[in-house]
């Protein structure tokens, strides 16, 4: 097989591999699917919650919210009895994990919001996925095109 054909086959194979990664995930089953959607929920009570979307159904929304320790946020207890307090008031929901970044601890709390309790919400794409798509478009596209032009 000629080197030109090998290069073409590799380019086509890489393109197919990358496009084959694309998946459609139902918005009611985002949890555990690997799809990462950021969300900012504002409740009718005026509370603003930032986190990751787990599901949207006609009944409401499930969000894993991030609470960074400090500035009125406390993470108390340990193990099964860990809880998060904001200005001394316990945050409703289930604590699913506590991460320990260098600056402050971050508690991840799974919270459910009824449809009627949501004033508005906005959704955001994962920065990692968006930047990888940018890299592929800006680097792989021109590189493959330029390489093919040099070879042929």
């Amino acid at each position: 097989m000629s080197p030109k054909l090998v290069v073409c086959a590799c380019a086509v194979g890489a393109a197919l591999l990358a496009s084959g990664c694309a998946r459609d995930v139902p918005i009611a089953e985002l949890s555990g699917s690997g799809a990462v959607v950021g969300v900012v929920v504002t409740t009718v009570d005026g509370e603003e919650v930032r986190g990751t979307l787990e599901s949207i159904t006609p009944r409401g929304m499930v969000v894993v919210a991030d609470y960074v320790e400090g500035g009125g946020v406390e993470i108390v207890g340990a193990g099964q009895s860990i809880s998060v307090l904001v200005e001394g008031t316990p945050v409703p929901g289930e604590v699913v994990g506590v991460e320990r970044p260098e600056v402050a601890r971050v508690a991840r709390v799974r919270r459910s919001f009824a449809a009627g309790a949501i004033e508005e919400a906005t959704f955001y794409r994962s920065a990692g996925e968006a930047s990888l798509a940018t890299i592929l478009s800006l680097v792989v596209g021109p590189s493959v095109g330029g390489l093919l032009a040099v070879i042929f």
Binding site: V25, P26, A115, T122, A130, V139
Partner: protein, 158 residues
Amino acid sequence: MRRSVSIADHRSTARVSRPAAGCALALLVAVALSVCAGAPASRFVESPGVPVRVELSYGGTLHGELVGYEDGALVVDHALPKSEHLEVVRRDGTDIVYVSGVAIGTAVEIRDFDVVVREKLMSSEIADARVKTDTYLGWGTAVAAVLAFLLVKLLEDV
């Protein structure tokens, strides 16, 4: 006075232009990487919008971006091609989009060939909604590849 160039000269010219083509390719990659270096370091992008496909309960499918949730409805931005059935009317400072005389949403952007419409979809209107994830390749990649191919070929001929 016309200068005659032999086949051997043509070959040597082509050989000399190869490094120029290589330099052009390296320059393209350097520019692309410098643009990528400016990507945000936060976990999510700053502007709202997640690629989504919505199947409507009364038929049809919308491909667009899920931007929000208001009053129990999903807010989806999607492009509609301009046609005689599509009309944009400004009322109280808002551009309302009508399709065959029926208001369907507000205009986010009016472009040369289409209009980006922001539509609120109640759960009763939605048969299925799916978020598109891991979509790394698009038309942009293909266009960039074709442009780079043509640019390098052009530089080779200079």
